[in-house]
Symmetry: C2
């Protein structure tokens, strides 16, 4: 895993390569997301981002997250409580382990799933195109504090 400064830099380059301009609001959003290992709502990104660029607008947060998602740099996360679209940094397609208390996210490989997918596909006759596997629980730190 890249360290956080490298990650910000990579993401900004990526934006540039895709023909987008590098502006202060975008830099703020990228830094917030690239430096976070927890799930963040757009409103949270906005709050934290304003610490880096005071004039940041919520609308720009939405628009920037949308671009980052399209570029595969962030990922939309759904949670059982309500259904706010949460966002997290991610590399590659992996599965999520989310702390219900602090929002921290870990990734794990899902290779164990292939056999199950084949079986379900055979039993049901469905053609499976996509899947969600998410675990919710408490991370080490939150287990101690609860």
């Amino acid at each position: 895993m890249l360290n956080q400064q490298e990650r910000s830099r990579t993401w900004l380059q990526e934006l540039k390569h895709n023909g987008y301009r590098l502006t202060s609001p975008r830099k703020a959003v990228v830094e917030v997301m690239a430096n976070s290992d927890t799930v963040l709502s757009p409103a949270e990104v906005y709050d934290i981002g304003r610490g880096r660029y005071a004039k940041l607008g919520l609308v720009t947060v939405y628009r920037t997250l949308e671009k980052l998602e399209a570029m595969g740099l962030v990922q939309r996360v759904h949670r059982p409580d309500g259904c706010e679209a949460f966002i997290a940094g991610v590399e590659g397609h992996q599965h999520l382990l989310i702390c219900e208390n602090c929002g921290r996210v870990e990734y794990f490989g899902g290779d164990k799933l292939d056999g199950l997918i084949d079986k379900v596909q055979g039993d049901s006759g469905y053609e499976i195109r996509d899947h969600w596997l998410q675990f919710f629980g408490l991370c080490r730190a939150c287990q101690r504090n609860n």
Copy 2:
């Protein structure tokens, strides 16, 4: 699996046992949900339900679905596109297989998951409390029509 009429009857009894009154709007919502094997949004329940009870209000649909969910008779479903809370009939805790085209839902057991949960729990130090496993794809009928 109970047939659909039995299921409606059971759900209505369940409502009564929990101290709720059996009203026409509630009967309409229960019948819609109990007779459907597809994922439905509150608005869809409302539309179909008005065929059974014309004066049905959308507000009542929300309130009834809330009660049915609390009683474990329906289940909230999250989908990748947007995040509308969809609902489906369910018995027991199983995993979902959802047709992306027609909304049809099947359930399958997730016993194969236990080993994976143990492994992830051990590797990460998380205490896993809940999980989502949902497959999205095309059911047999929709494969033919696409």
